[in-house]
Symmetry: D3
Subunit: 292 residues, 6 copies
């Protein structure tokens, strides 16, 4: 007496009912309490799942179908409202479990701070970890007006954890002067404005390494992703982002986990951004999960 | 590895995980293909569930909590797009099963035509059935521009099935002249404009009888329910509708099933209507389920 | 090879194709260039027509059908953008023609300044004219920041033209202190906050007189008419406004023309206001046209 | 006593008042009852006409003005809600009449299924017909969850009618694996992702042949056309679509009819899509009508 | 070279330029990080100021003009994103300063938690303080899913600080069963559903006492205030809320400060709620400031 | 007792508090009364300031920070509603004062007609003035349906004032045939469709000359700027517009003033356009102010 959950919009389309049998785990991190501008990304994961039923199950780009990969959708982690510290602890603990079960974690934000505990967990398992980061923003602050737990700090934190030379940012078009100077001084990679072309140059250097990919949807131009907290003109097209996902899929790196963050449905008037996010996740599943 | 479904927004808040153990069954009928004006109610059930997590579990009106009733949320019936005939067959078959298991059916629309197969199924089980119908519209047409399967016909159909004197409409403010004339001629009850006061007069007459209650959200004034296909000024307040639900709860009728239809989220810009619908359903559960 | 225009949404539903044979003329005055707050009412008339196809042709309130009245929809007067002086001249000239043909003028705004030239034209034909004005605002300014052609001045202008004791305002809840003082001094009637009850008291005094009725949609509470330039809390319900229209219909005054103004679709997110406006116009047609 | 209809927004701007004297006929097909995702395209034709008054009458691209072509706007065919079978019969019958009068049919949808009866009518007149199809989707299904009358089937139907080698699809980025395989097997042309460049290669092959062009607005990227039922990231720009229209205009094919479908205003929050659609139609009129 | 700030929308209309010369201080508390449902109230204060320029400066209800009261608009307190503890400390410190200067504090939220530090500061100055609280919700939780700093806790906190018998809640229609039980046990006043009538009974009991009034905009029905985080059907009208403000103004209590919270512009599609909030604040200024 | 105005959203971010000490003056021209299609740009300047607080103060494009330039934000000129003649006189007078104080004027519209009085003022100071104009539209009409004061006329007016060979238009894709013919005949420069490449060719020719740059936001494609009165498909990306601003910054022309007009927030559903406009203005400040 229950209709097929795989097409209900309650889980990402075609999700597998068994955690144990799955290769990957999709999960939501519905947190937006530290954002400095427009909140609302807490509702991102639920809406991405909801519209995923409009997706075709086949990718013409990768010539693969969703039934070729088994993934389980665990739902949204019930994070405590207004408590960033406890929230990131819960996220880290959850991802630890996913990794302990040897599954591929695919997270949906929520604000970008949620990627910090995920990357911490990844690093515990993969000491040789590298990060590919696509974003309009550096996210290299030490704190935002005094707050170290801020959506503008996760990349700085991971640089300090795994070493800045292991972190590669693409599509960056905004940040403080100091952030760019710091990145230059410590040898962290930042490709301004562009994603696809510089990514193609970086990928061979990372061949064979375990890589976590974190995508802030605002790397897209506002024309392609109005539904996010901090829109920033001059970004890339969804076509370039799709091609970048495919470039990673065809490279020799080992993708060991990934996330897509900062989707804020309340600013997404025609549901354009959540539909695009759901297509991106399909391509991430089809292109990355079995590359581990 | 799955977070508590009862608070996920995937089911109506606090839904019980077991069909067998439940007294009532909630189900969605995501159909809007015959509407003559604005479509979109197919997305009503999913959004009502989604926002139900914002509800308190306690009703100050009825001094009851949701945990006092066990109800199962079966999800949305996967109706075939653009095929009204097959859709109503599937709905009838589903409700037959619910009734066979002796559960209370609580349906969410979808356009009002979905109530027709439900009422047919109810009548098979309850030959003494009466209908309470709250709506801005008569819904007494034989057909709409030639189409007998139309959201403007379900009340006419049920009148013909169970006899017009067993059907009681409230809050009606729009219809064709012929519809009102027909109702008068055949002795069907129509209370124009008002719901609560005439309902209080009718309820004693129905004492002890099995009654199915069908609520078209557009019985509310557009100020209270903008998110519906056919807004019609001059309606009642949500306060009056809540009080009407409570009047039924405190009456001596036996409510044997109910529905809430015509919630169309795309026209519900601030999510006002879906939030109101979800509160109405909480009150219907707490007030009506155990009255059978 | 043209589908029935009466149900096309291009004219008010059921409009008669012949000007000559009609008793009344509907026309739009798409002007919003002097509004001090939010523009957009230029698109009001077109949208009211468009949604009028969703109306029932029968009024349960008045037990009449639209086919009992012949009215012609002339479309929108092509007013020159940004030129209030020329605009009001064109409106006056148009209404002069309507009146010369002995038709009942039913205008749709546009900002409230459009009523000024209409009332001027009416007065030329009906020297004994009285005005019934429903509005949240006094509209009794001499000028707005120096501009005498402003949406906040039409009632002052008509008071000066026909004498303030012939002007009756209802539902007023906002204005300058000086406006209320002036009204009091010169004996103009203002009913604050309420419409229906004070109207019932005034109507007998106007028995037999020719009356022009001008309705600013913002007399409704913002809950009932969000789609207007200047929303003002504490207003009346659409139910009270409908009842007021009906009270006039049942009174002994001679309605010789009317308008409904300040409908601004861009602020009308769920099309609630334009749908309400279209129902109001149906009632004005059915209740007032043949009272001349 | 009627203002110039050509600039009223009731017809496409500058439409000619006489069917007989016109070379082309514009008509709306307001049907959306079989769509599997978001309905609402029934309101597309009316809104495209409404905003067409904001267009310049001159095309800088083609150096032509609208007055150089005579076209008649017949309005919207009054299709029966929820009845796809009868709807497509009415459409075919209407287009038969247009073709019998030797006019160029220019249709506006409505969902893509409306193109099927049009193409059927075209084929009766032009046995050598070829189809140019621009879309994000293959539309090559036999049925959608059991329904053969679905917006995802029209291209399959026309392939079967006129032979798949006479059908050329461009811009396709979504579909089932089986659809692409079928196309390959039967020799139907599909250009994935791109429109302009592959079109330039195909056009010479079609020189001299009668061609019907059907454009699904979702061939545009969601950034360029959010107002449609099924947005799909990774599409083309409006610039590329305009250039594609111009490439056809400058080619040696004989365009014998065309349509633009799937414009859904309710998802078009800033009216961007309807404005773009209206510009596209201007270019289709100026570039294609006299190429017959 | 600066245009008159009093009419700029940057301050509440007609604000006085001098803090020292003013009787009252308006300030914003742009915090929404602990809300459990829909965030966005951080933008409430700025939007209320912005639309305040559309207000008349005269109140017909109170027959007073804004120039009769001197009030200074201090702007928004720059609260640290995502840090509730530090935020409430900053608010308390700010209000301490306002009170030290013997000014009347009029705060704008932001989520309801912001009222907690304000009430703490008030109590330090007024040991005999009573609280009038208008809200749909009890706000009597000890914590929300473990978080004591939550928008659902401020009334519980102030009850514990000043004693529950000094706190009067009105209009309450939602809460946990335990909250209502606790209120009953400790003798705290809760008027369910209604505001005006029970308030009129309470006011004489508070005659002569210093009272802080905290208004959660969601005490209004969603029809009257869609732009808030937690809409809850069955609320009061803006007319009743205006009358309640006036009842307090005409009573013998000493209003020593007040706030209006939970206005969330992103859900306020037609700017209805912010316009209503700005009118409410005008009435609070005119009715309450000089009652100290 | 006032929080830092530079980050309040009341002025453009980081504005300097002193007119005298500043190099540039930002000012709003909130006028939209002559627009022929969709009004609403009167609210553009206020919203651009409001969202400017979301900007980074550093430009990665120009490697400069806002603190390197001193600019004063004078607020919005209080223009008289519905009176274009008086409005343009007030604008000219204001800019005269700015120029008399030897400041760089940076104006925000409002409709494009506001640029006309600014350019008049500029020409009085700079007899050798040239104009760079970026727009979708020619704006070369003599009048719009009889009105010489129209948003479609400012470029014609300035051509007549300073000579058409001194005016350079870029990105133009719409206009009347006569406008293009006139431009050609009199030797005015129009680059159709493109901005960046033709601009690079023109800039060397203008080396050393004083140039006023006027940008109509609708030069952007609707995908990049939905929030404007007259969206027109086929435009440039925000990336191309940013690059064009930077090309001017790096050229040898002397920019002596500039404006950005036609931003209409009511059509800007996700605040995409105002955020883009605010970024453009940051680049104009950093790139152009000290080039005088
Ligand atoms: Mn980020
Ligand atoms: Mn970012
Ligand atoms: Mn109904
Ligand atoms: Mn109904
Ligand atoms: Mn008025
Ligand atoms: Mn008014
Ligand atoms: Mn298609
Ligand atoms: Mn398609
Ligand atoms: Mn509260
Ligand atoms: Mn509350
Ligand atoms: Mn322009
Ligand atoms: Mn332009």
């Amino acid at each position: 007496m229950k209709f097929d959950e795989a097409y209900s919009g309650n889980v990402f389309i075609k999700s597998h009912p068994s955690f144990e049998e799955s290769e990957a785990v999709i999960y939501g991190m519905p947190m937006d309490w530290t954002v400095s501008y427009r909140p609302g990304s807490r509702f991102g994961p639920a809406r991405i799942r909801e519209v995923s039923i409009g997706l075709e199950e086949y990718s013409l780009y990768l010539d693969r179908e969703l039934e070729e990969v088994k993934y389980y959708d665990a739902g949204d982690i019930p994070l405590p409202f207004g408590n960033p510290q406890k929230s990131i602890e819960m996220i880290e603990e959850f991802v630890d479990q996913v990794l302990a079960a040897d599954k591929f974690p695919l997270g949906m934000g929520g604000e970008h701070l949620v990627s910090w505990p995920v990357m911490k967990a990844m690093y515990k398992k993969y000491p040789d970890l590298a990060i590919i980061h696509m974003d309009a923003h550096t996210d290299l602050r030490d704190h935002y007006e005094g707050e170290p737990l801020s959506h503008s700090t996760p990349i700085k934190k991971v640089c300090e954890l795994i070493g800045p030379t292991n972190v590669y940012s693409f599509g960056i078009r905004s940040g403080m002067k100091e952030e760019f100077q710091w990145a230059k001084e410590v040898g962290m990679h930042i490709s301004p404005f562009e994603v696809l072309e510089p990514l193609k140059e970086v990928l061979p250097k990372l061949a064979g390494r375990p890589v976590y990919v974190t995508i802030d949807i605002d790397v897209l131009d506002p024309a392609h992703a109005p539904g996010t907290g901090t829109v920033d003109a001059g970004g890339i097209t969804s076509r370039e982002l799709l091609a970048s996902i495919h470039a990673i899929a065809k490279s020799d790196i080992k993708v060991v986990g990934c996330d897509l963050v900062e989707v804020a449905p309340i600013y997404d008037n025609s549901e354009q951004t959540v539909n695009t996010a759901s297509k991106l996740i399909r391509e991430m599943i089809l292109g990355w999960v079995q590359k581990k």
